[in-house]
């Protein structure tokens, strides 16, 4: 990482918040497996359940993973649009 990155304030709090929510939804997914399997695989209109879940996880966990790499000091190239 360049020194400019090091000087920039890292998004610790935001990363922590998204991290906590991400862990929480994964905890629900893994601890309630039986209920989830029973309802999510019913087919028909119940198809909305896995689709909505995928969107929820992608927003929460997607934000977390982006912030995670920022906190780790890994960012995109400073040159606009890369090379």
């Amino acid at each position: 990482m360049g020194s400019s990155t090091a000087n920039k304030k890292k998004p610790y709090i935001k990363a922590l918040l998204f991290g906590v929510v991400s862990v929480a939804i994964y905890a629900v997914l893994l601890t309630r497996q039986e209920d989830i399997n029973a309802n999510f695989a019913r087919g028909g209109a119940y198809a909305l359940l896995p689709i909505a879940t995928a969107f929820l996880f992608s927003i929460v966990h997607g934000n977390f993973t982006g912030l995670f790499w920022s906190v780790m000091g890994i960012e995109a190239s400073k040159k606009k649009g890369g090379h």
Binding site: L29, F40, P50, A54, F57, H61, T65, W69, A76
Partner: protein, 363 residues
Amino acid sequence: MHDIVKEAANFINLDTMTILYLFGVGFVGGLVSGFIGSGGAFVLTPAMMSLGVPALVAVASNMCHKFPKALIGAMKRAKYGQVDVKLGIVLGISAEAGVLFGAQIQENIKKAYGDAGSNLYVSVAFVVILAVVGGFVMMDALKTYRAGTQHEEEKTSKLALWVQSIQIPGTMVYFKSMNAKISVLFTIPLGFATGILAATIAVGGFIGVPSMIYVMGVPSMMASATELVIAFVMGLGGSFKYAMHGLVDIRLAMIILCGSLFGIQLGAMGTTYVKPFVIKLVMGVIMMIVLVSRGLMIPVYLSQLSLITPLADPTMKALKNVSFAIMGIALVTGAGIVLHAMWKGRREERLSLASAKEGLIHG
């Protein structure tokens, strides 16, 4: 639908090792997808099946992890100005139609020739497409590298210039990635072909990205990013279809997504550190290795169909294992090139920043 209900009831038990395995494969697959726009499915689906997941559930769950992953990847790369949303949506919708058509072909082959026939068709399609398209992509990347022109802007291919020059009134649409108008009579069939391929070999990007680059004249950086929009559109439609039949194991999909979102963020950032030809290189290398993997399976299916002298069981088992291992190698090699290129790019940027600073101090 009876089979489907039975399959859905067969959702596997998840232990810690299984979760870590899926997370790891998801991460590597995500890393490659973030970089070249696709990849991972060819390993993820067999990886799930190796855990005892029924084939249809593996395909459905892979698809349900693909669309949210592609969404995040596309959003990330849009920040770098690499995504042509309009082109992605046009190609994505036509690809969706191609998927339906491809699935129908698959079904007909399965009905006529059984599982081995269907597998043989998939493997032959894999080998032919990868040999032709992958070979072309690989040669182009190597030619650029050898000519030392990797620092220059990519040249639009003659075919793409011709396609862009064809004016068909009432069908012309402007796409920012090409900075040109192109007839939808070209984009729709290309999207459709991508969809057929996606339904057949599960990796539509292997034809989608090269066709955007060489047939439409989209720069490779934008083609690989726009492929993520296509993957999102197709993945969402496909997931919904499978979920309607209760085939998505959301736990598997979300665990793979857990790893792949870490990977896709990194792969997307990686593109900002490399020259466009690296995208082609990674794609070409992966396609060539997967070609070997699928090629090894052809004798197995020919034997099952009694088209050649039947192979002994241990030989078939060995070929299957070696084929799967080579696919894993393809993904890991691709990920290795991505990480290496990113590390090198970051080091160069650090050095140039440091020398610029030094110049300022001494100047």
